[in-house]
């Protein structure tokens, strides 16, 4: 690389940052040219977020230099960085929930007209600016946050996991906008765990590992493996291993289904969903954001009562009034947001032990040794990084998610409801979670998996139901489905020929004897 510092729009060199004894960044460097979309890659804990926070002034570095357009500059606050042309959009939108959108714009002194323009470009035209941020869905808030950042035309725009859990159609728009910025005089730093997104919009990628820049890669069709190699520091063929083991075909349909859902509806988006979940399988749910999958999982996990329809567990009709009912029936929930499931300030051990301590109620003493054994077993099984086991909130996101799964493994899970369990988790941990889900299924568990990342479906699932507009519109043989096919299915489009190949209309069969012919299966 012969370019000098002045050729770069942003050049960070040898940035380091320690938190007490913990080294977040050892020596990170990042050089961004004008007009490029630059990927910042690294496993969770590699230091990507810390680097972004330093660049935007949210965190002060211990060492290193940052130059913007050839001038040395260290921002001391996000406001200062913003004035210097560095703006970041985070996974958690920086919108004030109790202010309306207009006030939020005033707070950041954002011009309205450009904001509206970008909002339109990003697929949210005609948004009511007097709406309280609190009342808007997360995906909209993310888009608003991005439009707000674009409206002030920053020199360097940083997107930290911005597309995580963004529905496919909006992600598309975001990527289009980013593509449109290539070749101009501004640049974008793009952080995402999704390799396909990197491939489609990024020019180059800087890879961090353990707080150090380990390589800069020109992005082309062959760069993905190289990036993964750099990220992991060792060639990892877990994914292949996964694909191989995947031949295990759970054609155990002679058994009665573990869970049967018949015509379940819940306001506002779940209209009529029926399917069967068998033991030993991972059943995928393919859906764009907001097609009713949230409500479906709320119903199955006992959070909400359905307005119509029946649920059968092992052939018995059930009506959950409370999550505890669902757990007693063996249906447990792994949410995307770890904070919903964990006691963040308590230890890993306590978090894992919590559900099964509540399983032996009114027996007084919790047998500590037994508890310890079970917990230790599941920690080992899930390879949870327990260096910070004193308080769960200190674990990385991936390890936190493992804890939420571990607690159910420890208590002998029968049916797992996973709602986007790998959201914002690095690729290594993701793989471990995939392997774990497969293992659980192979040992007889029934797993329902919704994921916002369609590439996970063929990797982990046996079958998948496609939900669109609150109804099941098809079923896919997940093992032979590729991403484009799934994307089309999720949009409920596709030529009839293709549809015939992969999508077989669900035929809802009555469950056992109890449900004879009473459901209207359309």
């Amino acid at each position: 690389m012969t370019a000098t510092t002045t050729d770069y729009l942003l050049h960070a060199r040898d940035i380091s940052k320690h938190y007490g004894a913990v080294v977040a960044l050892r020596s990170a460097s990042l050089a961004v040219r004008p007009g490029e979309v630059h990927a910042l890659m690294g496993a969770n804990g590699a230091g990507k977020s810390t680097l972004v926070k330093i660049l935007t002034g949210a965190v002060r570095p211990d060492g290193g230099t940052i130059t913007v357009r050839g001038k040395e500059r260290t921002a001391h606050s996000p406001a200062e960085a913003r004035r210097g042309g560095l703006v970041s959009v985070y996974q958690e939108p920086a919108l004030i929930p109790d202010l309306d959108i207009l006030s939020n714009l005033r707070l950041t002194e954002t011009p309205i007209e450009p904001f509206r323009h970008w909002l339109e470009e990003l697929g949210l035209p005609g948004l009511d600016l007097s709406a309280m941020a609190r009342t808007l869905p997360l995906a909209s808030l993310r888009v608003i946050d991005l439009a707000r950042a674009l409206a002030i035309e920053p020199d360097v725009l940083m997107l930290d996991e911005m597309t995580a859990a963004l529905p496919a159609n909006l992600t598309e728009r975001v990527l289009e906008v980013l593509n449109g910025m290539r070749g101009g005089d501004k640049s974008v730093i793009f952080i995402s765990h999704r390799m396909t997104e990197i491939g489609s919009v990024c020019d180059r990628a800087t890879v961090l590992r353990e707080g150090e820049t380990v390589g800069v890669v020109d992005v082309d069709e062959h760069s993905a493996e190289r990036i993964v190699e750099l990220m992991l520091g060792e060639a990892v063929d877990q994914q292949e291993a996964l694909a191989e083991r995947h031949v295990v075909a759970p054609e155990q349909r002679k058994h009665a289904p573990r869970v049967s859902v018949r015509g379940v509806a819940l306001h506002p988006r779940l209209r009529d969903v029926s399917f069967d979940l068998y033991e030993g399988e991972v059943l995928g749910v393919v859906a764009l954001e907001g097609q009713g999958q949230d409500e479906l999982f709320d119903v199955l996990s006992g959070w909400e009562r359905p307005e119509a329809g029946e649920i059968y567990v092992n052939g018995q009709p059930v009506a959950f009034r409370h999550p505890a009912d669902a757990i007693r029936a063996g249906l447990v929930y792994v949410p995307a947001d770890r904070a919903e499931a964990l006691l963040m300030q308590r230890s890993v051990k306590e978090n894992i032990a919590l559900p099964f301590s509540s399983r032996v109620p009114r027996w007084g003493w919790i047998r500590k040794r037994k508890e310890h054994e079970t917990v230790t077993n599941s920690i080992e099984k899930l390879q949870i990084d327990t260096r910070a086991q004193g308080e769960v909130r200190r674990l990385s996101g991936g390890n936190q998610q493992k804890v939420t799964i571990a607690r159910w493994v420890a208590s002998g899970v029968e049916t797992l409801l996973c709602f986007d369990p790998t959201r914002g988790i690095d690729i290594r941990t993701k793989n471990q979670i995939y392997v774990l889900l497969r293992e659980l299924a192979d040992s007889g568990a029934a797993i329902l998996l919704y994921t916002s990342e369609l590439s996970e479906i063929p990797l982990v699932c046996d079958r998948a139901v496609v939900i669109f507009g609150g109804e099941v519109v098809g079923e896919v043989d997940a093992r032979h489905a590729d991403e484009p096919t799934l994307l089309k299915a999720a949009h409920n489009i596709g030529t009839e020929k293709e549809a015939a190949e992969v999508v077989t209309e669900t035929s809802t069969v009555p469950v056992g004897e109890e449900a004879d012919g009473e459901e209207a299966s359309q």
Partner: protein
């Protein structure tokens, strides 16, 4: 976590929509005004002689607590709480009364300005301690409760001092019409003149922002620490207004803090300000103060035992707040 991404509202119906949403946002204050009207009617029914004089008395007795609850509301909106409001009122009151005693009317103007500045400083000290030491607000202001109360006793050991006549005149008597008490007009003017411009400025937005979500506010470029210090300074300023109103309405000052701190928290809650910050305004708490006071008046007219009256007052407070959150819950679901 549910999310419909396509929520475009018709941009055309902007004006009506914004009026409707403005009404909805001040719904709590409006219903408080409704309750107030009912209470006034009840008072009139059980005590037919309750008239202009009664309203005068009510306005004067309510003034210090109303200002205290405005002070508290500002702290609470910014996700804080100030337990030293009562002490700051006592301190500013004794300082003003001792300085105004046996002095000219003109000098009193300087005293009033000085005392207001003193309030700002006291509040800013509270805020700075909270921001710099990172000790929770409730702990710092609890400590400062004793500090400011002690200072008040150092200034004046027993009730005494005096108020300038023009200051007394600002709160006593009617204005234009015998039904309009001067105390109420002055109080509302003070709050409106100080608060409304701030509320509409970037500082006001920042205060709501740090109360609603400090991290998002920080990332939006708000200086969280500075905003917090300014919010506490404003709390101090309104406490000083409260202290001055004590001097003005009673003509003397008392170094021992009245029940204003906890009553102001109660009024803030009843007034629709969320204790977790970011929601509510200052006018709701003012109405709440009048309601609480009128309740006492009614019970006095009914010859209810004073201790029992306190119990009833607390019960009503819990009841109203409970109904309020039930309504909110239902609205969220529906």
């Amino acid at each position: 976590m549910s999310a419909a991404v396509t929520t475009p509202a018709r941009a055309a119906s902007g004006r009506t929509a914004s009026i409707v949403s403005a009404l909805r946002r001040s719904g709590w204050t409006l219903s408080l005004l409704g309750i107030l009207a009912v209470l006034v009617a009840i008072t009139k029914a059980i005590q037919p002689t309750f008239g202009a004089a009664g309203i005068q008395g009510l306005a004067i007795s309510v003034m210090p607590l109303a200002l205290a609850s405005v002070a508290q509301a500002i702290a609470v909106i910014s996700r804080g709480i100030d337990l030293s409001v009562g002490s700051m009122m006592a301190l500013t009151s004794v300082v003003s009364a001792s300085l105004m005693e046996d002095r000219g009317e003109g000098f009193a103007v300087a005293v009033v300005i000085g005392v207001l500045v003193l309030g700002l400083v006291l509040g800013a000290i509270n805020g700075t301690l909270i921001v710099v030491t990172r000790v929770p607000d409730i702990v710092v202001t609890l400590a400062m409760l004793f500090v400011w109360a002690g200072c008040a006793l150092l200034v004046m050991e027993t009730p005494g001092g005096a108020s300038a006549q023009w200051l007394r005149g600002l709160t006593l008597g009617p204005l234009v019409n015998e039904w309009i008490p001067k105390a109420a007009v002055v109080m509302l003017l003070v709050v409106a003149i100080v608060w409304i411009p701030i509320r509409r400025s970037r500082l006001g937005l920042s205060m709501y922002a740090i109360g609603s979500d400090p991290l998002a506010a920080f990332r939006s470029g708000v200086s969280v620490g500075r905003t917090k210090i300014l919010a506490y300074a404003l709390t101090g300023l309104f406490s000083a207004f409260g202290g001055l109103s004590l001097t003005a309405t009673t003509g003397i000052a008392t170094p021992v803090p009245g029940p204003y701190t906890l009553m102001s928290v109660a009024a803030v809650v009843l007034g629709g300000v969320s204790l977790s910050g970011g929601r509510g305004g200052v006018f709701g708490p003012i109405v709440a103060v009048v309601i609480l006071s009128l309740l006492r008046t009614i019970m006095t007219f009914l010859n209810v035992n004073t201790n029992l009256a306190t119990v009833v007052q607390g019960g009503i407070l819990v009841g109203v707040v409970m109904v309020g959150s039930l309504i909110q819950l239902r609205r969220k679901r529906g």
